[in-house]
């Protein structure tokens, strides 16, 4: 089932730019492949990824079939205060997955 991996530094100095890495296990079936019988395999992808920090959106990505299986995303943010990152993946066929990570800013 849906397994998320997120990598956020546990601690950071105030004002430091930190990297956040996320990985979601998902087939990302592009919807352009055929079975040997000639039928199209229906599309099943993650279409949207959102990262919120203390409730405010800091990063969002719209994904398309051209994203490889098990979508990996890495992006940056400035550590301003201690708090919690919330991650959400939304996809075809009602796919929803969540993860979160805490950071201490000193």
């Amino acid at each position: 089932m849906a397994a998320a991996l997120v990598n956020v530094p546990a601690k950071a100095k105030r004002g430091a730019v930190i990297e956040i890495k996320t990985l979601m296990s998902h087939v990302m079936e592009p919807g352009y492949r055929h079975t040997a019988a000639g039928e199209v395999v229906p599309r099943d992808i993650v279409t949207s990824f959102t990262c919120k920090f203390n409730g405010a959106e800091i990063f969002r990505a719209d994904l398309f079939p051209a994203i490889a299986a098990n979508p990996f995303l890495s992006f940056f943010t400035t550590a301003s205060e201690s708090g919690r990152f919330e991650f959400e993946w939304i996809g075809d066929n009602g796919f929803v997955a969540n993860a979160s990570a805490a950071i201490t800013v000193e």
Binding site: Y32, H34, F59, A66, A68, A69, L73, F76
Partner: protein, 162 residues
């Protein structure tokens, strides 16, 4: 000594056999039926949809993709914009397009000033040797772009299911 020779002879024969099967496998995708592809015209219209009538300047954006890709199913890609991220002036979004996949879009990334650095990395699929284009939209409404040519030896997206 003679046994040594024989050993190396066998391993060479095996290597040649292996090379033969690999060559056979690589010719397979040509036989399979491929769906309609995005065309350079679709790429142009996808970019038009994004920028409208605005002028797209070349520069500021950097797209890191290996120039020669063996497997188009996972291609590491990093896109970054050489622009400060302050509340007054920042990179609003980065859009990545391709020329010859079934569909011209790859991803849209929406950033905020607190990102600190306008850089995103992911892994993408490429169905053919083609051009990849990244366009950044800044907070002042200007667009900046870069395009990179990538050679792909094993295509993604269109192969048959096992």
């Amino acid at each position: 000594m003679s046994s040594m020779f024989r050993l190396s002879d066998i391993s060479r024969r095996r290597l040649l056999q292996l090379a033969g099967t690999l060559a056979g496998a690589s010719t397979l995708p040509i036989v399979t039926v491929r769906p309609a592809r995005a065309t350079p015209a679709m790429l142009t219209s996808a970019i038009r949809n994004l920028v409208g009538e605005a002028n797209v300047r070349v520069g500021k954006v950097r797209l890191d993709i290996p120039p020669l890709v063996e497997n188009g199913n996972t291609v590491p890609m990093t896109v970054s914009v050489d622009h400060p991220m302050t509340a007054e002036s920042f990179v609003k979004s980065i859009h990545v397009f391709n020329e010859k996949n079934p569909q011209p879009n790859i991803a849209n990334f929406h950033l905020t000033p607190q990102a600190g650095r306008a850089q995103v990395a992911t892994r993408i699929r490429l169905a053919d040797t083609q051009k990849v284009v990244a366009i950044a939209k800044l907070s002042d409404g200007s667009f900046w772009s870069v395009s990179v040519d990538v050679i792909v030896t094993l295509a993604a997206c269109t192969e048959e299911m096992p």
